[in-house]
Amino acid sequence: MMITRKALNRRTFLRGAGTAVALPFLDAMTPALTAATKAPVRMAFVYVPNGIDMRHWNPANEGALQELPRILKPMEPFKQDVTLLSNLTHNGGRALLDGAGDHGRCCGGYLSGVQVRKTMVDIKAGISCDQIVANDIGRQTRFPSLEVGLEDARQAGDCDSGYSCAYTNNLAWRGDAQPLPPVLDPRALFERLFGDGANLSPEQKALRSKQRRSILDFVTGDTKALQANLGPTDKRKLDEYLSSIRDIERQLLKAEKDNSQVNPGMDKPYGVPADFAEHFKLMTDMMTVAFQADLTRVMTFLVTREGTSRAYREIGIADGHHPLTHHRNEPEMMEKVAQINTYHVTQFAAWMEKMKSIREGDGNLLDNSMIVYGAGLSDGNRHTHEDLPTMMVGGGGRSMNGGIKGGRRIVYRKETPMSNLFLTMMDRMGTKVDHFGDATGRIEGLDLL
C-alpha cells in the first residue's frame, strides 16, 4: 500500500459520457498513519416463499454448528459465517381474526412486524425495517436502498384470499401504504446502478446501442488516471471490480440475445434470463457490486413472490411450488419441496461465495454485512408462523470492531418476535429506534463480540 497523507475520497467516481461508476472500498481511501476508515456495514433481506421443510432446516443441536442439514448443505463452506436463529415468530402473520390469507399476511408484514389490512384496495402495512434504516443512513450512498426480485411484480388484484398482490409481491414498504416494488429486469437494475446514458447525445446513444459498448469504455480516461496512483493491491482490487462489471454486461447481453432468439413472445422483461439460476446470479452479481461500491447499504431481495406456483423445471420439478407445499404429508411432494428449498439455498450460497471473495479492509465484504435469508412461513403445509426459518449470514462489521460470531445456532424462547431481530439489526446499522413492530426487546447473540 502506498503511504500517502491524502486519502482517496470514498465518493470518487469514474466518469464518462452519461456514466458514473462508483469505486469499491480501496486501501487508498484509508489515510496512512491515521485512524483507519471503517468500511460500512450493509444489510440485506432475502425472502423465499411458501415456507421451508423444517425437518431439513433445523440442525439437531443448538450452539456450534455441526454438519448442516440437507437444505443448508450448500452453506457448508461458509458455516462459520452462518448464524441460525430459531423460534422467531411473526404473530402478525397469523389469522388472528382475519381468516384465510397467510401468504398475504406473512410477506406483507415480514419486515414491519405488523398485521396487514385484509384488502385488495386500501392497502395498509407498516414501514419496513430496511426503509427505517434507509431513511436514516440513505443519504450517505447513491441509493438509500435497492429492491430486487425475480418474479411477478403485480401490485394490484387478489393474490391470496382477499389480500392484495401488493402484500405478496413486495418486501420493502416506505410507509403504511407505499410498497417499493422490486426491480426484476437485470437491464433495468444495471442502468439504475450505472446510468442509462440519459446525458448522452443522440449520436452517442445510437452508437452505444448499436455497438453494445461497455460502460467501462466511457470511463477509460478516469480509470487510467486512477490506476496510475494506486498501489498494487488496490490495482488488483480495481481490476477485479471492473471485471465483475464487465462480466455482468456480458451476462446481460447473453440473456437479451437468448431471449430474442428463443422465446420472443415471453411475457417477461426483455433482459430476464430464462434460466432461474442465471437470473439469480445476474441480479446478485449486481447486488454485490452495489454493496462493494457502496452504492447502497440496504437491500431487499424477494426471490419469488409469496404464494408463487412457479415450477422448477430446471431441476426436473414441473409442479407448482405452492401446490407442492400443501403436500398432505405425501413423501413424494415433500421431497420436491425439499429440493426446491435446497435449490434456492444453492443459489444463495453462490452469492455468499462471491461476497466472501471480495476483500475489504482486513476482511471481506461478507464480514461487513448482515444478510438475512428466511421465510414468513415455517411449515408451508399448515401455514405456521412460529419458529420461522431464519439464517443470518455475515459478520455485521466483524473485520472492523467485533461483530456477529457465526457458526452457531441460537434457539430463542418461544413466541420471540421476529421484530426483535430487526430491532437488533437496526442497532447494528447505527439506526436507533425505541420500538418497532411487535418487538418486546432486542435479541441476544448478535451483540458485539
Binding site: R55, N329, V411
Partner: protein, 324 residues
Amino acid sequence: MQFIGSKPSVGVLYDGALGYRIDAALGLAVLYGLDAKNECRVVSLSVPSNNLHAAGFTEVIGRFYAGAVNGSFGAIGRTLPVGMATGKPVQDSPMLKAVLANPAYAHGINHLNDTADPRAMLRNALTAHHDQNAVVVLAGPATNLAALLDLPGAKPWVQDKVRLLALVPDASDLPALRKVLAEWPSPILVVPDGGVFPGAAIEKNFAWSQSHPIVDAYRAAGTMPYDAPAAPLAAVLAAVRPDSGLFKFSEPGGLAVSPQGAVIVSGPGKHRLLRLDPAQKEKLTALYVELASMKPVPRVPRIRRPAADAVKPPVPLPPPASKP
C-alpha cells in the same frame, strides 16, 4: 380486523402459581372443565415463577386435559407454549417433585427456550380475540401481568380485548400487585376467598383415571385428608359464568393494598370484590368437584382444518434436539 364466522366462547388467559399452590392447580382443572363444556377456551397459560419444573407441571396438566397445552391464536393445529417469568430462580416444591417424578406425565420443557416470554405470550393471545371477549385469571403473584403492562403497545390490547381480570390477591410480589391494581385497564374482580375444595373428592371423584396430575399434586401439597382453599376456582367460575348467581359482589370502587397486604375497595372506581354467598355454599362446592374432576373431552378445532391434512399421518421428524 374482520369477523370470520360466529364469535367464539370467551378466551381465558390463566396465570398462576402452578406447582406451588394447589388451589392454582385446582383452578386450572376447573377451567379445563368449563373448556370441555365449550363455555370458554384456554388460550394462554403462564407461571410467575422462574422454575422450569413449574412450567413443565403446567404443560403436564395441559396435556392431560387437552392433549396439548391447548388453544390456538388462529393458526390451525398449533399448541401454545407455556409462559414463564425469569426473575430469581425458585426451588422445587414437594408438589412439583411428586408429579414430575411420575413417568406417566410427559412434558417437553427442559430448557428456557422451551418456554415463552410471558409478555409476548399474553399480548399475542389477546391479539387473536374479538373485543371484550377475553378474561384473565390471576392465581398467584402478579409478576407477569405487571410485566405485560410495561410492554410497549400492550395496554391498548388489554383495554380492547379484556372484559375482566379475576384476581386472587397474592402479596408475594407486592410491587407487581400494586402496579396491576393501579394500571390494569379492564375492570378487576378481586377474589380473596372462594370457600374450600373438599379433599374427600380427590379419592372419590377422580378415580376414573389411574394417574391424574391433579390428584398427585393434591396429595403432595398437604397431609391428607385436607380441604384446600378455593379462591382460584371461584375466580375462574366468576370470570366464565359471570351471571351464575353463585356469588355476591361489592359495589364498584377503586382498589388499594392495605399495609397488611390485603386488597381493599377504596374510593371511586370500576372494580369489585367477590363475596361468598352462604346460601350457595353446597352448590358451589359440588360445582367445584364436578368441573375439576371432569374427564377430558377432545375438542374439535373451531376453525375448519383442511381435510387434506388428515389424509396421512405426519412423516416422523428427526429425534428431539439434544441440547448441551
